[in-house]
């Protein structure tokens, strides 16, 4: 279904020496790590560590002052978010960004927007390619709805849904784009334990069923350690550790960053 061009252990995305600052504030400093095809890669760190900035750099929303991002073998320094989308990068947001007045179904349909090839005239008349495309897209979206078990809210306006379900709809919209790389910005933030468990289940299932590579940001360490293949830890904009959850968990610098040490 989704592009499963799994070329073994290949690198899908690599960040090399990425630095980003806003005026005098250094958000990222010489950050380098890679994301392998088919893995669940977590970027963690305390608040203000630069996690969201990193995601925004990958996504093309921020442009780093130095360093390169190599995606699918092609290096780039500048890329716009919609180009990222066309190349198969989809994301969700920390503060849900859905069309609140639109139904779940329509919101997820918007995720298909860059798959539509027909022109304005055909769309207006709902003829020919336009019609068959709409049907194909709807069919795909129905698979996403089934996958996320949100059939009962298909026609409910998103603004009326509880927070946990809105998060799920947002994931649905990202999945509808059939991404090769899925970026999740704090998918578990603000959820109760049950909602978190559900979300973990869905993330694992997306990875397994669709073979989608996932890069996610979380500050809740416990959850991340359970579902990620590899974890990179940022602190004050720098990478302080990178490895499997077990390696990272034992790393003294990580423990210090999370528990705090006396500076001086």
């Amino acid at each position: 279904m989704v592009g499963m061009d799994a070329t073994g252990d290949g690198i899908l995305l690599e960040s090399d020496g990425v630095s980003l600052s806003f005026g005098g504030v250094i958000a990222l400093e010489n950050v380098g790590f890679d994301v392998r095809r088919g893995e669940i890669r977590a970027i963690i760190g305390p608040n203000g560590a630069g996690k969201s900035s990193m995601l925004n750099v990958i996504n093309g929303f921020y442009h780093p002052q130095s360093g390169t991002i190599t995606y699918k073998g092609a290096a780039r320094t500048q890329m716009r978010p919609h180009e990222a989308a066309v190349q198969g990068i989809a994301r969700t947001f920390q503060n849900i960004a859905l069309f609140r007045g639109m139904s779940t179904l329509d919101n997820i349909m918007t995720g298909r927007v860059h798959k539509i090839r027909s022109n304005f005239l055909l769309d207006a008349l709902y003829l020919g390619r336009s019609r068959s495309e709409e049907m194909r897209n709807r069919e795909f979206v129905e698979h996403v709805i089934d996958f996320l078990e949100i059939q009962s809210i298909r026609k409910v306006a998103v603004g009326r849904l509880p927070y946990g379900l809105q998060k799920r709809v947002e994931l649905g919209r990202a999945l509808a784009a059939e991404p090769d790389l899925l970026l999740l910005d704090e998918p578990m933030a603000g959820m109760n334990v049950e909602e978190k468990e559900d979300m973990c289940r869905f993330i694992l299932d997306v990875n397994e069923e669709f073979g989608t590579t996932i890069a996610l940001i979380e500050h809740d360490m416990g959850v991340v350690m359970d579902i990620s293949d590899r974890v990179v830890v940022l602190d004050y904009g720098r990478k302080i550790a990178d490895g499997t959850p077990d390696e990272v968990r034992r790393d003294q610098r990580v423990i210090d960053a999370y528990l705090g040490v006396v500076h001086g």
Partner: protein, 649 residues
């Protein structure tokens, strides 16, 4: 209906249906937002492929196939496939936890399991090591199972593929196996959910299910173009009879909802003609309507209330074809256009011809609400041990407080103890591997003890009053059925709980809990000021309100010669709510009669003494776990019995 004499098993019936109704829809399921349909010949093909696949995997005659999941076409097909091979399907409650499931799978010695999805597969895997008889697991939905070790775990479609290959090599196999089946073979084992002790496996033969289901069809003239929705647990005998047995016999189409969360929307889309639900579903539907009506504009609301009043007056009479004045008929016809039809459409009852409720007593208000709209809701009394049907209400003879007359071929009798016994072709073979329980329940000559107390009224209708073990006698020997009285009281929205006493006493008295929500909103409207539950419960106005309810109950009781003696003579309103934290209710909110009797012995004594006030101190547990003492002066009211009232006037 067709002749069933040669078709004495479900697989034989299916093969026949696949020819007779080849292109008629047999099943539907909403998948990916679209209703998918399988005709009878499709179903036969699917069942055959799966049965052959099971055989290829070593499924033998007499083997048990456990089925775990929501209502899914494939799970129903698995049932028929197992029966085709002379095996026995054992459906399990899908919401059971692993440990409960262990008991059933272990006790039934299941060799094969068909599970709906990962959730169910995980449960079985958790207990698998302790199930020596379990060999193969088959799942319907592969989602999330990709990385599971496959050895004995198979995809449903993969088994069907194996089955098709197997059939190429053995083309006569399926027909041969089906032909070997006989009516007296075990068709299914249904485990009762068991409110007391371990679940028991009720063994039903093909004949049991076939004859009972066919009698139900005969009574209500169900046809092949009826439609129903399968949404109640497959392990429950009702679903087995309505969604499987009767569908196979009458040839009607069964639709499976998209998911358990979409049932109400799916109900509306399908618009069944034949529907079954326990009382709480009717109650929930009604509540949803009422809440939405309160939010509607003034005009709509007025129209709704006006026409509902018309329906209350004449709707049921029109439904039953009784005489109604012409103007009233016109009003009802207008109401149908403006209110009833749109309302029924919103409920999914536009096409309903026949609806049943069973399982527990339904509130007369709820019951009358649907009937007055023209929805033919009827009550039915059944048990797993009877393959459902014991009594059912015939059209035109529907009363809210009886469960109808015996179903075809059912004999009823009432034991001296008041317990209801029945005998019918649907009577179960035995409890699986439990001869002792079988002997306790079923007599040598085939009579089954229901455990319910009841009697047959002057019109020949059975009236269930209570569990037999709770029924007592007043000291003059007349019948005392506490739960019957309590239910009658609880049908009033103002009364939340009631506990009646009277066994071995000279009169019936009751402790009553008011419903805080209902009574406080009544209090607001009537300018009754209060600051706490205790204060509200003690108000004279509230006592008047409750007395009104009690008098109404007494009037109903007086009309019933069997129960006239158990009218409520004295009552009091408890100063605190009965609470599970205080051990007064079970966690499922059923009253613990004995605990309440012990704890409030002083109140009960006062009710039987000559006092009109009693002082009480009660220990209570607060939600944070602390305990405290509540002191109260509780008022006692005497109520004049209804018959005496009638005489006096």
């Amino acid at each position: 209906m067709s002749d069933l004499s040669n078709l004495d098993t479900f697989p034989k019936l299916l093969v026949d249906r696949a020819q007779r109704f080849a292109d008629k829809p047999a099943m539907r399921e909403k998948a990916f937002g679209i209703w998918q349909t399988w005709t009878w010949s499709d179903v036969e093909r699917e069942v055959r492929a799966f049965a052959c696949g099971l055989a290829a995997r070593g499924f033998r005659r007499g083997d048990k196939l456990a089925i775990i999941g929501d209502n899914r076409p494939r799970l129903y097909w698995a049932m028929a496939a197992a029966q085709s091979l002379g095996g026995i399907p054992v459906p399990c409650y899908q919401d059971a936890v692993a440990e409960e499931m262990f008991y059933v799978l272990d006790h039934a010695e299941a060799r094969f399991v068909v599970a709906e999805d990962q959730e169910q597969v995980d449960k079985v895997l958790e207990i698998r090591d302790r199930l020596p008889t379990l060999e193969e697991m088959i799942f319907d939905d592969s989602r999330g199972l990709r990385r599971y070790e496959r050895g004995h775990l198979h995809d449903f479609a993969e088994i069907q593929n194996q089955g098709r290959e197997f059939e190429q090599a053995h083309p006569e196999f399926f027909a041969g196996e089906v032909a070997r089946g006989a009516g007296e073979d075990v068709a299914i084992i249904l485990y009762t959910s068991g409110t007391t002790g371990r679940p028991k496996g009720v063994v039903l033969s093909h004949t049991n299910v076939l004859v009972a289901a066919a009698n139900g069809i005969k009574r209500d003239a169900l046809k092949s173009d009826d439609e129903t929705l399968a949404y109640l647990p497959m392990a429950w005998v009702g679903d087995h009879i309505f969604s499987y047995g009767q569908s196979y016999i009458a040839g009607f189409c069964v639709s499976c909802p998209e998911s358990s969360a979409t049932v109400l929307a799916d109900l509306r889309e399908i618009g069944p003609t034949y529907f079954f639900a326990p009382p709480r579903i009717y109650e929930n539907l009604l509540t949803t309507v009422m809440i939405r009506m309160e939010d509607a504009g003034t005009l709509k609301r007025r129209m709704f209330h006006y026409f509902m009043e018309v329906a209350r007056r004449s709707g049921t009479r029109i439904l039953e074809g009784k005489p109604v004045t012409l103007t009233e008929r016109l009003r009802y016809a207008l109401g149908r256009m403006l209110v009833y039809a749109p309302l029924k459409n919103a409920l999914g009852f536009s096409r309903i011809r026949l609806a049943y409720t069973a399982g527990e007593a339904i509130g007369p208000d709820i019951f009358d609400f649907y009937r007055s709209l023209g929805v033919n809701v009827k009550q039915l009394y059944g048990q797993t041990e009877a393959a459902v049907f014991i009594t059912m209400q015939p059209d035109g003879e529907v009363k809210s407080d009886t469960v109808g007359t015996p179903a075809p071929d059912v004999e009823l009798k009432i034991a001296d103890s008041g317990e209801v016994l029945y005998r019918s072709p649907g009577v179960f073979q035995c409890y699986y591997k439990n001869p002792e329980a079988t002997r306790e329940t079923k007599t040598e000559d085939g009579w089954v003890h229901t455990g319910d107390a009841g009697y047959i009224d002057e019109d020949g209708h059975l009236k269930i009053i209570d569990r037999a073990k709770d029924v007592g006698k007043l000291d003059d020997g007349s019948l005392f059925a506490p739960k019957y009285l309590e239910n009658k009281l609880k049908f009033f929205p103002q009364i939340k709980e009631a506990v009646a006493f009277g066994d071995g006493r000279d009169a019936v008295v009751a402790l009553i809990n008011i419903d805080l929500d209902a009574v406080s909103s009544w209090a607001e409207r009537n300018n009754v000021v209060f600051s706490s539950y205790q204060e509200l419960a003690a108000r004279d106005e509230v006592y008047d309100l409750v007395q009104h309810c009690v008098e109404q109950v007494n009037r109903d009781l007086a009309a019933d010669p069997q129960l006239a003696a158990s009218q409520i003579r004295r009552f009091l309103i408890l100063h605190k709510e009965l609470d599970a934290d205080d051990g007064e209710l079970t966690r499922t909110r059923k009253v613990r009669r004995r605990t309440v009797a012990e704890k409030y012995a002083a109140l009960v004594d006062a009710l039987y003494a000559d006092q009109d006030h009693v002082h009480i101190e009660t220990a209570v547990s607060f939600e944070d776990g602390r305990t405290g003492i509540v002191r109260a002066d509780v008022q006692i009211r005497s109520v004049a019995p209804a018959a005496a009232l009638a005489e006096a006037s």
